[in-house]
Symmetry: D4
Subunit: 215 residues, 8 copies
């Protein structure tokens, strides 16, 4: 267990039994605040046998066992996402942030098809310390956000789309080619990874400040 | 020669001699307003032997032999493009429009990295009958334009970019996946094709109106 | 709601419950003529609870809630398609046109394998204002149509085919490379997008003429 | 040396010296009718040192050393091609046929952009025993030919095109997906391979008939 | 109905009802020898209602309605295939040949992993007029066959394999790059197309000979 | 000009004349600290006409006009890179950081082929606030770094490699799939973008602390 | 039956009946030590009818009929793998080694995300004669292993991952580009192939030594 | 310097000056037997300044500085290659083997187009301890070799070919899908890597035997 960072179980491709067993082992070792991602309903139901508190998010397909939140003091993360179908990825990101001790604000449904909704929240965008921008289809949202504000942007392409979308490869490639400078990209649908990166930056900032406050 | 549409010579992969000879043959048949695209400087110089009027655009790599403009009465086409490097494609489009009897207005350098420049021209966008939107990199411009206005949009991806841009495949795929409804896409760097499509629509509209005016 | 354009719900990846709820919300806001695309039978059955008039097309997987057709005065759109398997995409296009106030004529089964059927309708092709050409396999139909007539062509590749068809990428790429000039291409299976683009052009033409008629 | 089939030297990636040396060696072994493909001007000039008769085709980039034509008695091969830029591939095919003892007829510039030119030669198409159809861009020509006639078709995609043409991959994929039944496809720009396949079929037919004639 | 060539129904993506109805229509028009490909068990069972003779091949997923074989007089087609899993494609080819009036000989399980089995049948290979070579995995079989004999080869890649096989794209690409000269390639799993091409060549040969026999 | 961020000229695909002219224009507007990237020797030589101080880095292909460094107070950025051929990308990153007011430490030649060199600098890695990890070939370096330390990692794939490296697509894809959590990836060879992202994070942190210091 | 090498049945895409029948045939011919790979539970259950000893590994999806182990005298093979999800591929490899008469040691869960676990077994790595390194995601494990030790490495990419993992193509490409020298790569998930290659090398070594021992 | 393994300089993308300097540094450290790969003529000429013995192979584009061969006692490596154009890769492999202390035998021009040449050397193939099989085009050679003999095979795809060869990706993919069991594949044109892997196995075998001989 790395200090400050909870254990994470990636459930995709694991049986309900395997997930239950790994969870039990980690709990026995004394862990709490254990994050499970890509957890389907059936596997969640199985976990109820553990008889511990579980914070379950069916939309984001996540759960936190024995949740215990000690949010960090500083830093504001904003999650913005394009369409309704991108919400599960956004929820995975926000739950991961919660487990990692970061507060975040979520603004959904601000994709480029209704771009005025994005301008309406320009102040929110400006005041964030990091923005996680999530979009499928053509993946233009991080570019537009990055063109509007100076805040660092982490871009998450989603597999939302069809045909020439190529299961998310199109928004992924688009985000990597953004003409807004300095956007960091993670894998398709990887809300967890974006949140982890954002939180690691915020944690660094908090450590930095705390060290100075002690002095 | 299809009525109303001038002859076009696509010069890529042809020698200066071949281009000269095809031009001569078309002129002998009585054509004027002959459009040459993808014409480099050397081939242009060779054409001077023809001793006819030539309207040459080195940026767009186009020439019109014996130009003769009879602009159509109705219809307003707008060309918008992203960065400086997209201008040659935009010039190919505007020269093609000229040869096909369409007037157009050009607004360059309104890519998403400086998105405020695009909003500044919203009125122009709204008043166009067709918009040709040209962009490389992540190809987000047509999506943003299409999200702002109701005008039909023809999108041209350019090969501007590097690495994961894949020589323009990335903006091409992005434009095909736009979440702004109803964007028609042409091949990478194909300013000619976008202009041809736009002009054919405008011509249709003019014919329609003219027929009714006669009545 | 953008003026003249009805609300559209893209049902792919949404549950029956979500579709029902979004529909209800839009109806409550006073919308009618609401278009639903990619709607399967189960979700359609669910919508019957709404107890409003529904114009359902199982082939095109579309429905229009509280249909209300005020077809535009001018403009003739023609939909041509290749084989039997392309018909669902063609139906999606024609239903979208209906919802957007455009009349269209449909000519099916004129793919290149039976090319004489296409020549038999040459007059129909010539008299259209816009042609939507839909094909899978090698996607040659828009090229052949574009080579026969001067009408603007919107090309829709379909995912019909197997093996090296790559789920529609092959006809998509082929259409983008058509040697018939000026063909605008939309995403694979995107009958909706083609219809939307065609209707936006026809709407522009109608506005133009109406403005002049008033004078 | 396989009986009836001349030696072939594929010159791409070989130095003028290597080509000269291989030619000399084959001539010393008593070969004549040696075919060289992908031969550039410089390497051809070098071959003049051999002081043998050379039948050189700069357009097709081929040469035949000590040509000696014994055309087969039966079988009619037709080569049709799309645009001007496809002619080099067509010439490689026709020179290969010549070296292999097959007569052929060539009809150029009948691509789908000017499809009426193709219909004008329908009788020619019908009377052929094998048609080699060569095209770049979207590669629709073999499909159209195959839809018009019952003759077996060998399709050759060319690398003519740009952008989403992907150096000929697009017409290659299109030809493999033709909805005209039973088209055999060879590699991009492989005029040699198409001619070789056609000639092997014609040779088979001639052997068959000759055997019966003897009886 | 093209003379000599039976009607063909490609059943993939059609419902049992659609297949039944198309079959009935063709039978009513007086057709016999109707070929159905990609026909699953359920759809076949449905066809029993037609109460006509049906020649069904579950392995090849084909059926021939009202079969009526008038095999052509001349020409010998050989089908060779690699592994057990390639047999369905080979059966599709042989059934198509039967419906098209061609006799063929089949030699299975001669893939390169057991290459001695191929040499054992060298005489058979040599005596064929056309060889259809079918293989998945790395698709080397047509190359090996083409290197052994002078007979024209039609290559069929199959989707047999996994991982970097890319659903048959790997053997397809390999066959197109064969260093054995003059191999014609058809789409992945397209046993029908290979058979159609082979039969059209054999038919040409038969017509040719018959014409001369009459004289 | 965005506050705190200098103007940047991306020189790829621009002529020496264009670069000179844009530089002159920016200088006239009163800018200093202007960063030029992808600047070749010839274009640099041309810039000497400007007669201003130029900080030129031929390895990184960058220049800073009228350099003026006001490094930020807090934050430590570390650049690590794989092999010798990755150094130009690393230099582009470090020069960009300099222009953006960030100090950085560079550790080169710590690729996985000599992995012990990486362990030798573990302390340096641990004490950084952000690590920019640059690698070509299989792109494993960011994964290894991310597995060793808890610091946020920005990964830059380079086009160093050949064959199945696919011009950098292989390390790009590898970095996006890292099993070390939370790595942000930028485009191939995009040292500029990685530096820009890192500096925007560090700037955020500095602003944050400064605001608190004032209180 | 090749001497020393048992018969292998690859069960993917075969029915339980086919697998049973092939097994029966091989047993009747007197084979023992028959290896079945990609065997699912249902097909395994069917095999119980054979009433022979079966060594079944559900994790590796393998079975050995009439197992009979005569392990070779010399040579030590080590299997290392990344994450839990790679274990089935590792088990396929170890079962194949067993059937081929090789002993092996397995070390699981030493992926780069927990790289310290790999260093902990450095002595084991050093003392192996061949290492089979198995990993999905970014596929960095073989590079890291190859950088640490001088032992020959056979790399197996797995299909573990999502999005830009492209079903294992990403680790496959990464392994082919390893900057650790001399890594041999097999197909995605091909534990069998890696084991076969390793065992053929070990067998060679044993033969070599045995021959000398006799003298 | 790893024991027994000489230093290697990969010269691609390095200037003559850089290569000279790295060579000098390594010589100063006391190295001999330094291998340079991908070395062009100009860079070689530059190295003459070093005034040490250089073993240069222009075909393989390799050089060995201060060559010093202590061939290992046991083990026989065979290099087989397809066509003339594959020879440079084969030479790179054989020079690498020489530098690494391995003797090898080379058999060129045994590609599948002239497959009888391969059978003629079956005894040679059988008696080898490892075979390095090198081929471009469709990459069938390793499969054929692997099907003929039981010796372990290392496969090297080359970039020889055009069009659908995709610069060597086609033979690379084919080799990874070989139905001959247990073939290890290296990167396109990577003669060095194949030789390194082969030599590491042979070295292992020698160490093993030597250890036992001492006892
Ligand atoms: N820039 C361009 N991109 C694509 N197609 C073009 C372009 N310029 C001209 N064309 C097409 O090329 C045809 C002429 O080709 P060609 O006969 O080879 O000169 C014209 O009729 C146009 O349809
Ligand atoms: N244009 C071509 N495209 C593909 N293969 C060719 C071509 N010309 C010749 N070949 C083949 O290349 C072989 C000769 O190759 P090489 O021995 O390298 O000269 C001939 O036997 C032909 O099979
Ligand atoms: N090496 C680089 N890679 C990617 N983008 C860059 C690079 N250098 C500069 N840029 C971006 O390119 C923009 C300038 O482009 P331009 O106006 O065409 O000179 C800058 O604002 C940066 O965002
Ligand atoms: N898991 C596997 N992956 C790849 N090839 C395999 C595998 N298992 C067995 N094989 C190969 O498949 C052959 C048997 O194929 P089959 O005759 O179709 O059962 C064996 O000789 C092996 O070469
Ligand atoms: Mg920004
Ligand atoms: Mg719009
Ligand atoms: Mg047209
Ligand atoms: Mg036909
Ligand atoms: Mg042959
Ligand atoms: Mg870490
Ligand atoms: Mg090593
Ligand atoms: Mg073998």
């Amino acid at each position: 267990l790395r200090q400050g960072v909870p254990e994470v179980i990636y459930c995709e491709g694991k049986t309900s039994e395997q997930i239950l067993e790994i969870s039990r082992r980690l709990l026995h070792k004394g862990n709490n605040n254990i994050l499970l991602t890509r957890l389907d309903q059936t596997s969640y139901d199985k976990l109820l046998q553990l008889e511990v508190e579980i914070d379950y998010n069916p939309l984001g397909r996540t759960a936190i066992l024995k949740p215990e939140f000690n949010p960090m003091k500083y830093g504001k993360i904003l999650i913005v996402s394009g369409g309704t179908s991108d919400i599960p990825v956004a929820e995975e990101a926000s739950e991961t942030l919660k487990a990692l001790g970061c507060n975040c604000k979520k603004i959904y449904d601000v994709g480029v098809a209704g771009i005025h909704r994005l301008f309406a929240v320009k102040d929110e965008l400006d005041s964030a310390d990091i923005i996680i921008a999530i979009a499928g289809m053509e993946g233009a949202l991080p570019s537009v956000v990055g063109g509007l504000v100076e805040v660092p942007v982490i871009a998450v392409p989603t597999s939302v789309g069809y045909g020439a979308n190529l299961n998310g490869m199109t928004p992924l490639l688009a985000m990597l080619n953004s003409c807004a400078s300095g956007i960091g990209v993670v894998n398709i649908d990887n809300g967890f990874g974006a949140a982890f990166l954002a939180s690691s930056m915020i944690r660094r900032m908090n450590k930095f400040i705390e060290k100075r406050e002690v002095l």
